[in-house]
Each structure stands twice: as structure tokens, then as C-alpha cells.
Amino acid sequence: MLRILHQIFRTGIVTEKLPPAEEAKVTLKGAALEEEVMRRFRRSITIRFVDAGSCNACELELQAVTNPVYDCERFGMHFTASPRFADMLLVTGPVSRNMEIALKRTHNAMPTPKLVVAMGDCAHDGGMFGRSYASLGGVGNIIPVDAYIHGCPPTPSDIINGILMAIGRIEVKK
């Protein structure tokens, strides 16, 4: 126990300041929600994550978002196990044919109003996997998407910035 306490004090606070957002790394798709609703989302946001066919690199970086260095909880972001509690659906990967139904069902299970953020180059247009019998391409082909976070995979700071931009909490650096 003493060792644990000692280690905690040795570690101190490792959380880093978030770098400014860059426009090139995010694409916003129109005014998704009404002003009033967006204003409410600006406080804390609860995210349901679905891997719709990713290679798992995006998941690694998404897990890093919750580590002490990036600590997304300081921005009021947290991940929920149930779509019923979620404000935002975060999707990675090209949508595989075998995940299409599960993705739609998760989206349907969320209460409205809801936001959809597609993360990674595959979620944008299918990436290296393209469009085929097994990959249906970008998430936008299956459910309406409000914002795309680019990168292969996007870095943890890009992910946090992208989510904050999607809910209109930060301005884009032009």
C-alpha cells in the first residue's frame, strides 16, 4: 500500500494541455442540431462507441484518450456502455457488411437528439478497405454523420479536439 501511495505522489499530475484544434483534421457536416440543443451538449457529453469494422488502431488511440495524459473526463466527456444514456455515437472503421445491422440498431437505440461522429480515415470513405462485398465504405453511407475526425488513426488530441468541435465548444484555428 505504501508503495502505491509513494508511486502516486511520485507520478504527480501528468495531464497535458490540449493543443489548438486544426481545421484540416475535422470536417463538420452542416448544422446538425438546433442551437438550443447544441448549447446543452456543450456541458458534459456521454459517448457510446461502436467499432463498425476497424483494424483496431483507432480503438488504441481512443483508449489513450482516457489515459492520464489526455484525460478526456476533464472536458466532461465519458464513455457509456448503454446507447440509452448516450448523447453521441462515435464510430470507427469502414462499416463492414457484418456490422451494418448492429450499427443501425445501436443508433436507433439512442434517444434523440443525438450526434454521430465518425473517427478515422476508414470511417470517412472506407480508407484502405474501400467499398466491396464486405466493406460498405464510410459511416455516412449507413447513418447520418455530423462530424468526421480524420487521421489513420487520429491522435488522442485530434480526437478530443474533434469531439469538442462537433459539439461547438471550441472554435477552429483557420
Partner: protein, 522 residues
Amino acid sequence: MTDDLKKLLGNIIDAEKSIDNSQRGALALNIPADLFAPAAKALKGAGWRLAAEWAVDESPFGRGYGVMAAYNKESDYLIIKIALPKGEAAFPTLTRKYTAAYRFERQINSLMGLVPAGHPDLRPWIKHEDWPQDAYPLRKTFDPEKDLGRVEGSYKWIRAEGEGIFEVPVGPVHAGVIEPGHFRFQSVGEDIINLETRFGYVHKGIEKRFESLGWFEAPRLAGRVSGDTTVAHAVAFCRALEAASMCVAPKRAQWIRAILLERERIANHLGDIGAICNDTAFTFMLYQMAILREKVLKNNFKIFGHRLTMDRVVPGGVNVDITKEAVKTMEDELQGLANEFERLIRIYEDNSSLEDRVYGTGVLTPETAKEIGAVGFVGRSSGQRCDARVQSPWPPYDEIPPNPPFLTSGDVHARTWVRIEEVRDSIRLIRGMLDTLPEGFIRVDCPAPLPGTSGFSVVEGWRGEIIHWVQAGPDGGINRVMVRDPSSVNWLSIEQAIKGNIVPDFPLCNKSFNQSYSGHDL
């Protein structure tokens, strides 16, 4: 060919005459179809392991289908190929000899449409029930652009019956930030009687996709077979291509590849050791290990320009050099990492509530591991002396030999401990490689392989043995790429290890295996 092997197969075939010289990277024999199973029986008897089994559509060469099996014993790999006559779609099953063939052959059946005669369970695998029956994506006649549509269908699950037995279905969408897959438990109270897994949810048609790419863009796709193993898969693909086109990467490139491989091993092991502890509610370790992992990734970005070092390995070498400053950065990093890691492992060892959860949980016995042919840290935790870096070392592992740990208890603790030891060993290996980093080029021009040739490669990724097999078509382009991630064999072992455990321990057990869904589904 060794004399042992000649003697072993001597009763069945004339081994010398069967050697196929168009196949490179491993000894390959062409044998008549009816000897496929007898050869497997002889090899099994002599202690060979079935490492992979796959099929290839050779219609572009004017031939029928080929079925191939790769075997391994110590340092030797052996490929046995049978050619089916045109129009013939049945081949003898190996499942009765080798348990590992069970899934390989279901996959061949589902995606290539060949029938392993005598296979006990031909439910489709990866191909879900709503696919049209006659859609066989790996056949050359299949148009990958065409939408298949959905049909009515059902999947017959294995069910336990009796008083008090109930079923717990989990997935494909899971609670955490992980990949999709389906697990179905038959249980009494909390005790698991049987677990049946079903995957295929992240099937993106990778093997088919390779066939539409050129040789030099394909490594990018190989690096996305399983994102956490991006380096190892890219190295495996490039080595298979280099074997086929008889190209050798310069020494400096080989060293850099190995450094990237070991960094990938360290980063993944750190993350998973923390995550295993987290599943016992010891979150302290999750965050501490995450900090260490983050430091490795940040340095990856600084030195190699990408946090996961994707797309750094290319045919003929690598596309990023290690500067003198980078060597210094890594040496300092390793020093800091080693000190901090040892402090944390001391805490791991001291924690009795952690011990209570990890000892004796999710036991994969050495007998079962051998039967399944478990590879990588899963195999090494269950008494299998398997590590491609040691058994068939490629440079620089021949000069700087790894010293992987072997345990026999096969429980969650063993799998964690093997990975703890591997982090230590990888730190030592990288230091050794940095000390001996050869001067010279980091890349040579790798020619495309000649039409009809093929290449086989084995790379020990952080999860275990990865196998790639590439074949050039009559036009010199890619005719077939076979990818075998360690997950394809190791997923079988979790079903065995979980028996008799309780449902709430499943996440912990699963994390201790941490197999790839994407690498399995392709």
C-alpha cells in the same frame, strides 16, 4: 530437406521429386490429393504442428483449386500442397488429425467454397447467415464490387440443456472500447459450462482486397490487418514478397525493422498488463502502465513520425532511418522505462487482492495448448516452447537472441507474467540492437516476383507467430495473399480455458488472451 523428414514421408511419397521450386521462403512439396491426410497423420505423429491451412484459386494459370497446409517443427516450416483437378471442389479434411484445422477448413469452405470431406462441422464461418449461400469471395469468378444483398438464414448454436441452465449472449457491440465479436455462454448460476464464439463482424474482405492492389501499395493494407500489430504484419508481408522475388533487405533495415517490432511488443504489453489489472478493479496499474505506454508512443512519433509506426516498413527495407539523436532518445527512454516498470512490477507482485483474481483463473493446460497449436505468449504461458524469433531467427535475432520466458500454469497470471518478462527482454534486445546498428542503406529496390512464384514468411509479432503467403499470378500481379494472424489459432484456446470459470471472470480471461478480432476476421 532434412533426412528425418525424408524418412518420415518416405513411405508416402518420393519427397525429393515432390519439391516445388516456385515456392520460396519454406520447403514446399506438391503431393497427390489422396495423400493429404496420410501426410498429415505422419507429420502429427512426428510432432509437427499445423500452422496454417488455406486454399488458392489457380484458374488464372488454367488450373483448378489448390489446398495448402503449412507445418512447423522447431526451426523447420514445410508447406504441403495438393492440386484439385478442374471442377473438383472437395478435399480430404485434416480436422481429424489436427484440431487447428477445424476453423481453417470452415473458413476455406465459407470463403472459397471447397468442401473438406469428413469435416464434422460445416456451419459457415465469417460468412454470416444472411449471405447468399453461393457467394465465395476468394474465387476468381466472384465480383468484389457487387453488393451481395441479404437472404433469410439462421445459425445453429451449440446449446446445453437441463434444469437451471441458461444462455448469456454477449456482443457484437461490447460495453468498452473494444472490437466486435459474439460470445455465447451456457451456464448454471455463474459457472460456465460452454462458451461458443462467433466472429466475422469485422470481416472487411482484406484477402480479396490484396488481389486488386499492386505489390508496392499492398504493405499499407498489410499494416492494417490488425492495427495493434501493424509493424509485424507489414514485416511479414514484405518478407514474403522479398522471399518470392529473392530480394534481401539491407542489414541496417533489418535492424530497424526489429527495433520497431520490439517497440510494438513493449507498447502492447504495457497497455495490456495495465488493462488486465484494471479488470481486477486495480485501476492504479491501468493508469500507471498507460503513462508508460504513452511515453513509448510519443517517442515513436518523434523518431519515426507515427505513434503506432504504421507504414514505416516497405518492400526492400524501411522508409525511416534512425539518427544519432534518435539512438540517444531511445537509450534514455529505455532507461526511464526500465526503472519505472520495475517499480510497478514490485507493486503487482505485492498485491494480494490481485493475486486472488489472476492465479488459477482461465487455465489453458499445456496439453490443450499443444492440441490447438497455440502460439505466441498464449502458448508460452502454457508450456509451449514456441517463438519464431528463437526457432527460426532472421537477422538481427540470430545475432542478438531473444530469451522469452516459458511458464506452464497457463492461467491469467502466467499470461501476464510472460508478458512482463517479455517487456524486460525487449528492452534488452533494443539496447543490443542500438549498440550494433549496422551502417549502410535502409532500402534496396525490391523487384516484383516472377509470374507463378510464391513467398512464405513467418514473423513473431507481439501476439505470436504471423504467417503470410503471397503468390504472383501469370501477369506478375498479386494472385493470392494468405494472412494468418496468431488470433486465428489462439481464439480456439479461450473457449477451452474459460470452462469451469464464472461469467464475471470472462472479461479478465479474455483480456489476458487479448486476441485480435480484425486479424482473425480479415
